[in-house]
Protein backbone atom coordinates (compact mmCIF):
# COMPACT_ATOMS: atom_id res chain seq x y z
CA UNK A 1 0.00 0.00 0.00
CA UNK A 2 1.28 3.47 -0.84
CA UNK A 3 2.11 5.86 1.98
CA UNK A 4 -0.86 7.60 3.53
CA UNK A 5 -1.31 11.18 2.27
CA UNK A 6 -0.20 13.81 4.76
CA UNK A 7 -0.11 17.60 4.77
CA UNK A 8 1.54 20.36 6.72
CA UNK A 9 -1.14 22.46 8.41
CA UNK A 10 -1.10 25.41 10.76
CA UNK A 11 -3.76 25.61 13.43
CA UNK A 12 -3.92 28.73 15.58
CA UNK A 13 -4.79 27.07 18.87
CA UNK A 14 -5.66 29.35 21.77
CA UNK A 15 -3.82 32.17 20.04
CA UNK A 16 -0.65 30.18 19.29
CA UNK A 17 0.18 29.09 15.73
CA UNK A 18 0.91 25.36 15.78
CA UNK A 19 2.31 23.73 12.65
CA UNK A 20 2.09 20.00 12.28
CA UNK A 21 2.28 17.33 9.60
CA UNK A 22 -0.76 15.08 9.78
CA UNK A 23 -2.49 12.39 7.76
CA UNK A 24 -5.52 13.76 5.91
CA UNK A 25 -7.86 11.50 7.83
CA UNK A 26 -6.79 12.95 11.22
CA UNK A 27 -9.85 14.33 13.00
CA UNK A 28 -9.42 17.74 14.60
CA UNK A 29 -10.27 16.18 17.98
CA UNK A 30 -7.38 13.71 17.59
CA UNK A 31 -4.99 16.35 16.27
CA UNK A 32 -5.66 18.43 19.40
CA UNK A 33 -5.32 15.50 21.79
CA UNK A 34 -2.66 13.31 20.22
CA UNK A 35 -0.54 15.68 18.14
CA UNK A 36 -0.74 18.75 20.36
CA UNK A 37 -1.26 17.08 23.74
CA UNK A 38 -4.32 19.20 24.52
CA UNK A 39 -6.36 16.49 26.24
CA UNK A 40 -8.91 18.91 27.66
CA UNK A 41 -11.03 18.33 24.56
CA UNK A 42 -12.81 15.07 25.27
CA UNK A 43 -13.87 12.46 22.76
CA UNK A 44 -17.10 10.62 23.50
CA UNK A 45 -19.15 9.25 20.64
CA UNK A 46 -17.03 10.32 17.65
CA UNK A 47 -20.06 10.79 15.46
CA UNK A 48 -21.36 14.17 16.50
CA UNK A 49 -24.00 13.17 19.02
CA UNK A 50 -22.53 13.77 22.49
CA UNK A 51 -20.94 17.21 22.17
CA UNK A 52 -17.92 16.49 24.43
CA UNK A 53 -15.44 17.44 21.71
CA UNK A 54 -16.95 20.87 20.98
CA UNK A 55 -14.34 23.56 20.31
CA UNK A 56 -14.61 27.04 18.82
CA UNK A 57 -13.53 27.38 15.20
CA UNK A 58 -13.19 31.05 14.31
CA UNK A 59 -15.37 31.69 17.36
CA UNK A 60 -18.17 29.35 16.32
CA UNK A 61 -18.80 26.20 18.41
CA UNK A 62 -18.36 23.08 16.29
CA UNK A 63 -17.80 19.35 16.77
CA UNK A 64 -14.07 18.67 16.49
CA UNK A 65 -14.81 14.97 15.81
CA UNK A 66 -16.71 15.97 12.65
CA UNK A 67 -13.96 18.19 11.23
CA UNK A 68 -10.78 16.96 9.58
CA UNK A 69 -7.77 18.81 10.98
CA UNK A 70 -6.53 19.43 7.44
CA UNK A 71 -9.78 21.27 6.71
CA UNK A 72 -9.18 23.51 9.73
CA UNK A 73 -5.85 24.71 8.32
CA UNK A 74 -5.26 28.38 9.11
CA UNK A 75 -8.33 28.60 11.37
CA UNK A 76 -8.51 29.96 14.92
CA UNK A 77 -9.25 27.13 17.33
CA UNK A 78 -10.20 27.72 20.94
CA UNK A 79 -10.18 24.73 23.26
CA UNK A 80 -11.11 24.46 26.91
CA UNK A 81 -7.43 25.09 27.74
CA UNK A 82 -7.86 28.55 26.22
CA UNK A 83 -10.64 29.67 28.57
CA UNK A 84 -8.73 30.47 31.75
CA UNK A 85 -6.51 33.54 31.91
CA UNK A 86 -2.71 33.31 31.57
CA UNK A 87 -2.48 33.71 35.35
CA UNK A 88 -4.79 30.72 35.86
CA UNK A 89 -7.81 32.82 36.75
CA UNK A 90 -10.92 30.87 35.82
CA UNK A 91 -13.14 32.02 32.98
CA UNK A 92 -16.61 33.03 34.25
CA UNK A 93 -18.16 29.83 32.85
CA UNK A 94 -15.56 27.72 34.66
CA UNK A 95 -16.07 29.66 37.91
CA UNK A 96 -19.85 29.28 37.57
CA UNK A 97 -19.71 25.52 36.83
CA UNK A 98 -17.64 25.13 40.00
CA UNK A 99 -19.93 27.31 42.14
CA UNK A 100 -23.17 25.72 40.90
CA UNK A 101 -22.02 22.09 41.10
CA UNK A 102 -22.53 21.72 37.37
CA UNK A 103 -20.04 18.89 37.01
CA UNK A 104 -19.40 15.57 38.67
CA UNK A 105 -17.39 13.20 36.51
CA UNK A 106 -16.39 16.05 34.22
CA UNK A 107 -16.37 14.06 31.01
CA UNK A 108 -18.91 16.22 29.19
CA UNK A 109 -17.76 19.46 30.84
CA UNK A 110 -15.32 20.78 28.18
CA UNK A 111 -18.08 20.68 25.56
CA UNK A 112 -20.58 22.44 27.80
CA UNK A 113 -18.00 25.08 28.75
CA UNK A 114 -17.22 25.89 25.12
CA UNK A 115 -20.91 26.10 24.16
CA UNK A 116 -21.67 28.27 27.20
CA UNK A 117 -18.69 30.57 26.60
CA UNK A 118 -19.70 31.13 23.00
CA UNK A 119 -23.36 31.68 23.96
CA UNK A 120 -22.41 34.46 26.38
CA UNK A 121 -20.42 36.24 23.69
CA UNK A 122 -23.52 36.32 21.46
CA UNK A 123 -26.10 36.72 24.25
CA UNK A 124 -24.69 38.29 27.41
CA UNK A 125 -28.03 37.83 29.21
CA UNK A 126 -29.69 34.69 27.80
CA UNK A 127 -33.15 33.55 28.93
CA UNK A 128 -33.83 29.94 29.95
CA UNK A 129 -35.07 28.90 26.50
CA UNK A 130 -31.97 30.29 24.83
CA UNK A 131 -29.73 28.47 27.30
CA UNK A 132 -31.64 25.22 26.78
CA UNK A 133 -31.40 25.54 23.00
CA UNK A 134 -27.67 26.27 23.19
CA UNK A 135 -26.84 23.25 25.37
CA UNK A 136 -29.37 20.89 23.74
CA UNK A 137 -26.69 19.30 21.58
CA UNK A 138 -24.55 18.27 24.55
CA UNK A 139 -25.18 15.16 26.61
CA UNK A 140 -24.53 14.92 30.34
CA UNK A 141 -25.07 11.49 31.92
CA UNK A 142 -24.46 12.20 35.61
CA UNK A 143 -24.83 15.76 36.85
CA UNK A 144 -28.01 16.71 35.03
CA UNK A 145 -29.04 19.72 33.10
CA UNK A 146 -30.67 21.72 35.91
CA UNK A 147 -27.37 22.63 37.55
CA UNK A 148 -25.73 23.17 34.18
CA UNK A 149 -28.44 25.66 33.22
CA UNK A 150 -28.04 27.41 36.59
CA UNK A 151 -24.31 27.62 35.96
CA UNK A 152 -24.81 29.29 32.57
CA UNK A 153 -27.09 31.85 34.22
CA UNK A 154 -24.49 32.39 36.96
CA UNK A 155 -21.75 32.75 34.34
CA UNK A 156 -23.81 35.51 32.71
CA UNK A 157 -23.93 37.34 36.08
CA UNK A 158 -20.19 36.89 36.62
CA UNK A 159 -19.41 38.13 33.11
CA UNK A 160 -21.67 41.16 33.59
CA UNK A 161 -19.94 41.97 36.87
CA UNK A 162 -16.52 41.76 35.19
CA UNK A 163 -17.50 43.94 32.24
CA UNK A 164 -19.22 46.35 34.69
CA UNK A 165 -15.90 46.81 36.43
CA UNK A 166 -14.55 47.64 32.98
Amino acid sequence: MSAEPTSEVTLRVNGQPRSLRIPHRRLLSDALRHDLGLTGTHVGCEHGVCGCCTVLIDGSPQRSCLVFAVAADDRDITTVEGLAGADGELHPVQQAFSECHALQCGFCTPGFLMVAASLLVREPDPDDDTITEAIAGNLCRCTGYVNIRSAVRRAAELSAAISGKG
Binding site: P5, G51, I57
Partner: protein, 283 residues
Protein backbone atom coordinates in the same frame (compact mmCIF):
# COMPACT_ATOMS: atom_id res chain seq x y z
CA UNK B 1 -14.37 5.07 14.97
CA UNK B 2 -11.62 6.50 12.78
CA UNK B 3 -12.04 7.14 9.07
CA UNK B 4 -10.16 5.05 6.53
CA UNK B 5 -7.28 6.77 4.73
CA UNK B 6 -8.17 9.17 1.94
CA UNK B 7 -6.60 12.06 0.10
CA UNK B 8 -7.85 15.59 0.82
CA UNK B 9 -8.08 18.22 -1.92
CA UNK B 10 -8.91 21.89 -1.61
CA UNK B 11 -9.66 23.32 -5.07
CA UNK B 12 -9.15 27.04 -5.68
CA UNK B 13 -12.41 27.48 -7.56
CA UNK B 14 -15.48 25.61 -8.82
CA UNK B 15 -13.83 24.80 -12.17
CA UNK B 16 -10.96 23.04 -10.39
CA UNK B 17 -13.42 21.21 -8.13
CA UNK B 18 -15.25 19.91 -11.22
CA UNK B 19 -11.95 18.79 -12.78
CA UNK B 20 -11.16 16.90 -9.60
CA UNK B 21 -14.58 15.24 -9.44
CA UNK B 22 -14.18 14.18 -13.08
CA UNK B 23 -10.59 13.01 -12.78
CA UNK B 24 -10.40 11.31 -9.38
CA UNK B 25 -11.76 7.83 -8.74
CA UNK B 26 -14.14 7.43 -5.80
CA UNK B 27 -14.18 11.11 -4.91
CA UNK B 28 -16.77 12.68 -2.63
CA UNK B 29 -17.58 16.34 -2.08
CA UNK B 30 -16.88 17.64 1.43
CA UNK B 31 -18.81 20.75 2.44
CA UNK B 32 -19.76 20.89 6.14
CA UNK B 33 -19.23 17.16 6.60
CA UNK B 34 -21.84 16.87 9.33
CA UNK B 35 -23.39 13.81 7.64
CA UNK B 36 -20.38 12.59 5.65
CA UNK B 37 -17.81 12.57 8.48
CA UNK B 38 -19.97 10.43 10.84
CA UNK B 39 -20.44 7.96 7.96
CA UNK B 40 -16.66 7.96 7.43
CA UNK B 41 -15.96 7.57 11.16
CA UNK B 42 -18.19 4.47 11.12
CA UNK B 43 -16.50 3.45 7.84
CA UNK B 44 -19.89 3.21 6.21
CA UNK B 45 -18.35 5.59 3.66
CA UNK B 46 -14.72 5.10 2.53
CA UNK B 47 -14.10 7.58 -0.29
CA UNK B 48 -10.57 7.60 -1.74
CA UNK B 49 -10.62 11.38 -2.24
CA UNK B 50 -12.41 14.31 -0.62
CA UNK B 51 -12.90 17.57 -2.52
CA UNK B 52 -13.43 20.35 0.04
CA UNK B 53 -15.71 23.06 -1.37
CA UNK B 54 -16.37 24.79 1.95
CA UNK B 55 -14.06 27.74 1.26
CA UNK B 56 -15.08 28.44 -2.35
CA UNK B 57 -16.16 32.08 -2.55
CA UNK B 58 -18.29 31.37 -5.66
CA UNK B 59 -20.56 29.13 -3.57
CA UNK B 60 -20.80 31.47 -0.59
CA UNK B 61 -23.95 33.42 -1.47
CA UNK B 62 -27.63 33.78 -0.59
CA UNK B 63 -29.64 35.59 -3.27
CA UNK B 64 -33.18 36.73 -2.67
CA UNK B 65 -34.87 37.09 -6.05
CA UNK B 66 -38.43 37.44 -7.35
CA UNK B 67 -38.63 33.67 -7.67
CA UNK B 68 -37.35 32.91 -4.22
CA UNK B 69 -34.19 32.23 -2.25
CA UNK B 70 -31.10 30.84 -3.98
CA UNK B 71 -28.70 29.24 -1.51
CA UNK B 72 -25.08 28.63 -2.51
CA UNK B 73 -23.47 25.33 -1.65
CA UNK B 74 -21.09 26.53 1.04
CA UNK B 75 -23.77 28.36 3.05
CA UNK B 76 -24.34 26.76 6.45
CA UNK B 77 -27.73 26.14 8.04
CA UNK B 78 -26.82 28.73 10.69
CA UNK B 79 -25.95 31.35 8.07
CA UNK B 80 -29.26 30.76 6.27
CA UNK B 81 -31.21 30.91 9.55
CA UNK B 82 -29.61 34.26 10.31
CA UNK B 83 -30.30 35.72 6.85
CA UNK B 84 -33.21 38.11 7.39
CA UNK B 85 -34.15 38.78 3.78
CA UNK B 86 -34.15 35.06 2.98
CA UNK B 87 -36.46 34.30 5.89
CA UNK B 88 -38.75 37.15 4.96
CA UNK B 89 -39.06 35.83 1.40
CA UNK B 90 -39.36 32.23 2.56
CA UNK B 91 -40.34 31.97 6.25
CA UNK B 92 -40.58 28.18 5.94
CA UNK B 93 -36.79 28.00 5.78
CA UNK B 94 -36.26 29.26 9.31
CA UNK B 95 -39.18 27.26 10.65
CA UNK B 96 -37.68 24.05 9.27
CA UNK B 97 -34.02 24.84 10.00
CA UNK B 98 -34.61 25.09 13.75
CA UNK B 99 -35.36 21.35 13.67
CA UNK B 100 -32.12 20.49 11.85
CA UNK B 101 -29.89 18.82 14.47
CA UNK B 102 -28.49 21.30 17.02
CA UNK B 103 -26.92 24.76 16.83
CA UNK B 104 -23.40 23.37 16.93
CA UNK B 105 -24.07 21.10 13.94
CA UNK B 106 -25.91 23.86 12.06
CA UNK B 107 -22.79 26.02 12.47
CA UNK B 108 -20.91 23.77 10.06
CA UNK B 109 -23.50 21.70 8.15
CA UNK B 110 -24.65 23.16 4.84
CA UNK B 111 -28.17 23.42 3.43
CA UNK B 112 -27.18 22.18 -0.03
CA UNK B 113 -25.15 19.37 1.51
CA UNK B 114 -28.17 18.21 3.43
CA UNK B 115 -30.18 18.12 0.16
CA UNK B 116 -27.40 16.21 -1.64
CA UNK B 117 -27.21 13.74 1.25
CA UNK B 118 -30.94 13.06 0.68
CA UNK B 119 -31.62 11.65 4.11
CA UNK B 120 -35.31 10.66 4.32
CA UNK B 121 -35.51 12.51 7.65
CA UNK B 122 -33.77 15.66 6.37
CA UNK B 123 -36.10 18.60 6.98
CA UNK B 124 -34.88 20.58 3.97
CA UNK B 125 -35.87 17.79 1.57
CA UNK B 126 -39.52 18.37 2.51
CA UNK B 127 -39.18 22.14 2.24
CA UNK B 128 -37.72 21.86 -1.26
CA UNK B 129 -40.43 19.37 -2.28
CA UNK B 130 -43.31 21.40 -0.84
CA UNK B 131 -42.18 24.62 -2.51
CA UNK B 132 -41.40 22.92 -5.82
CA UNK B 133 -37.80 24.06 -5.62
CA UNK B 134 -34.86 23.00 -7.70
CA UNK B 135 -31.20 22.13 -7.39
CA UNK B 136 -28.48 23.29 -9.77
CA UNK B 137 -25.79 20.73 -10.59
CA UNK B 138 -22.52 21.52 -12.32
CA UNK B 139 -20.03 19.24 -14.03
CA UNK B 140 -17.33 19.58 -16.66
CA UNK B 141 -20.00 19.22 -19.34
CA UNK B 142 -22.04 22.15 -18.02
CA UNK B 143 -24.89 22.94 -15.70
CA UNK B 144 -28.31 21.41 -15.27
CA UNK B 145 -31.24 22.12 -13.01
CA UNK B 146 -33.26 19.34 -11.43
CA UNK B 147 -36.68 19.87 -9.83
CA UNK B 148 -37.34 18.54 -6.32
CA UNK B 149 -39.63 15.81 -7.66
CA UNK B 150 -36.74 14.31 -9.66
CA UNK B 151 -33.88 15.16 -7.31
CA UNK B 152 -34.63 12.74 -4.47
CA UNK B 153 -34.37 9.36 -6.16
CA UNK B 154 -34.05 6.98 -3.20
CA UNK B 155 -32.79 6.38 0.32
CA UNK B 156 -29.68 8.60 0.69
CA UNK B 157 -29.66 8.95 -3.09
CA UNK B 158 -30.05 12.13 -5.07
CA UNK B 159 -29.87 12.81 -8.78
CA UNK B 160 -26.40 14.32 -8.31
CA UNK B 161 -23.97 12.19 -10.32
CA UNK B 162 -20.46 11.17 -9.21
CA UNK B 163 -18.85 13.88 -11.34
CA UNK B 164 -21.41 16.53 -10.44
CA UNK B 165 -21.42 19.20 -7.76
CA UNK B 166 -24.52 20.77 -6.23
CA UNK B 167 -23.77 24.47 -6.63
CA UNK B 168 -27.03 25.96 -5.34
CA UNK B 169 -30.65 25.30 -4.45
CA UNK B 170 -33.68 27.48 -5.18
CA UNK B 171 -36.45 27.66 -2.58
CA UNK B 172 -39.37 29.41 -4.37
CA UNK B 173 -41.57 31.99 -2.68
CA UNK B 174 -45.15 31.02 -1.93
CA UNK B 175 -47.90 33.08 -3.58
CA UNK B 176 -49.70 36.03 -1.98
CA UNK B 177 -51.95 34.91 0.86
CA UNK B 178 -50.02 31.68 1.39
CA UNK B 179 -48.62 30.71 4.75
CA UNK B 180 -46.40 27.90 5.87
CA UNK B 181 -44.95 26.08 8.83
CA UNK B 182 -42.94 23.04 9.83
CA UNK B 183 -43.84 20.61 12.62
CA UNK B 184 -42.15 17.41 13.73
CA UNK B 185 -42.00 14.77 16.43
CA UNK B 186 -38.62 13.38 17.52
CA UNK B 187 -37.58 11.38 20.60
CA UNK B 188 -35.51 14.36 21.68
CA UNK B 189 -35.30 17.81 20.10
CA UNK B 190 -32.61 17.71 17.43
CA UNK B 191 -32.83 13.95 16.89
CA UNK B 192 -33.93 12.41 13.60
CA UNK B 193 -37.66 13.01 13.24
CA UNK B 194 -39.99 10.03 13.62
CA UNK B 195 -42.32 12.15 11.52
CA UNK B 196 -42.16 15.72 10.28
CA UNK B 197 -44.30 17.80 7.96
CA UNK B 198 -43.97 21.06 6.08
CA UNK B 199 -47.30 22.71 5.32
CA UNK B 200 -48.37 25.43 2.89
CA UNK B 201 -51.87 26.88 3.14
CA UNK B 202 -53.47 29.40 0.79
CA UNK B 203 -56.02 31.56 2.58
CA UNK B 204 -58.73 33.26 0.48
CA UNK B 205 -59.94 36.85 0.93
CA UNK B 206 -62.86 35.73 3.11
CA UNK B 207 -60.48 33.99 5.53
CA UNK B 208 -61.30 30.45 4.44
CA UNK B 209 -58.71 27.96 3.20
CA UNK B 210 -58.44 27.82 -0.60
CA UNK B 211 -55.67 25.22 -0.96
CA UNK B 212 -53.36 23.21 1.28
CA UNK B 213 -50.40 20.90 0.76
CA UNK B 214 -48.14 18.93 3.06
CA UNK B 215 -44.69 17.43 2.56
CA UNK B 216 -43.58 14.67 4.90
CA UNK B 217 -40.18 13.42 6.02
CA UNK B 218 -39.37 10.01 7.56
CA UNK B 219 -42.28 8.37 5.74
CA UNK B 220 -40.54 7.06 2.61
CA UNK B 221 -37.08 7.07 0.98
CA UNK B 222 -37.76 10.64 -0.17
CA UNK B 223 -40.14 13.46 0.78
CA UNK B 224 -43.87 12.74 0.25
CA UNK B 225 -46.07 15.60 -0.95
CA UNK B 226 -49.81 15.28 -0.25
CA UNK B 227 -52.50 17.66 -1.47
CA UNK B 228 -55.10 17.94 1.29
CA UNK B 229 -57.13 20.68 -0.39
CA UNK B 230 -60.21 18.48 -0.83
CA UNK B 231 -60.58 18.09 2.97
CA UNK B 232 -59.97 21.70 4.00
CA UNK B 233 -61.19 23.88 1.11
CA UNK B 234 -63.77 26.50 2.11
CA UNK B 235 -63.23 25.99 5.83
CA UNK B 236 -61.99 28.54 8.33
CA UNK B 237 -58.59 27.69 9.85
CA UNK B 238 -60.24 27.12 13.25
CA UNK B 239 -62.77 24.74 11.68
CA UNK B 240 -60.44 22.27 9.93
CA UNK B 241 -61.77 18.71 9.77
CA UNK B 242 -58.99 17.08 11.80
CA UNK B 243 -60.46 13.57 11.55
CA UNK B 244 -60.83 13.91 7.79
CA UNK B 245 -57.21 15.07 7.49
CA UNK B 246 -56.03 12.20 9.68
CA UNK B 247 -57.88 9.65 7.54
CA UNK B 248 -56.66 11.07 4.24
CA UNK B 249 -53.00 11.34 5.22
CA UNK B 250 -52.73 8.07 7.13
CA UNK B 251 -54.23 6.22 4.16
CA UNK B 252 -51.64 7.71 1.79
CA UNK B 253 -48.36 7.37 3.71
CA UNK B 254 -46.64 3.98 3.79
CA UNK B 255 -43.81 4.16 6.39
CA UNK B 256 -41.61 1.26 7.53
CA UNK B 257 -40.66 -0.05 10.98
CA UNK B 258 -37.25 0.87 12.31
CA UNK B 259 -35.53 1.10 15.70
CA UNK B 260 -37.00 4.55 16.36
CA UNK B 261 -40.68 3.85 15.71
CA UNK B 262 -43.05 1.27 14.27
CA UNK B 263 -44.72 1.82 10.93
CA UNK B 264 -48.11 2.10 12.63
CA UNK B 265 -46.88 4.75 15.04
CA UNK B 266 -45.31 6.74 12.21
CA UNK B 267 -48.56 6.54 10.23
CA UNK B 268 -50.46 7.75 13.30
CA UNK B 269 -48.02 10.66 13.75
CA UNK B 270 -48.45 11.63 10.09
CA UNK B 271 -52.22 11.84 10.58
CA UNK B 272 -51.95 13.88 13.78
CA UNK B 273 -49.30 16.24 12.40
CA UNK B 274 -51.46 16.91 9.32
CA UNK B 275 -54.04 18.73 11.41
CA UNK B 276 -51.42 20.38 13.58
CA UNK B 277 -49.42 21.65 10.61
CA UNK B 278 -52.38 22.98 8.64
CA UNK B 279 -53.92 24.68 11.69
CA UNK B 280 -50.60 26.23 12.70
CA UNK B 281 -49.82 27.40 9.16
CA UNK B 282 -53.27 28.95 8.61
CA UNK B 283 -53.47 30.63 12.02
Amino acid sequence: MKPAPFEYHRPADVAEALDMLAGLEEAKVLAGGQSLVPLMNFRLATPAHLVDISRLAELRHVDVTERGVVVGASITHAELMGHEAANEACPLLGRALRFVAHEVVRNRGTTCGSLAHADPSGELTAVLALLGGEVTLASQSGERTVGAADFFVGYLQSACGDEELVTSALFPRLGEGSRSTFVEVARRHGDYAMCGAAAAVEVAGDGTIAAARLAYISMAPGPVVIDVGEVVQGRAPADVDLAGMYDLVSSVVDPRDDIHASANYRRHLAGVLAGRAITEAAA
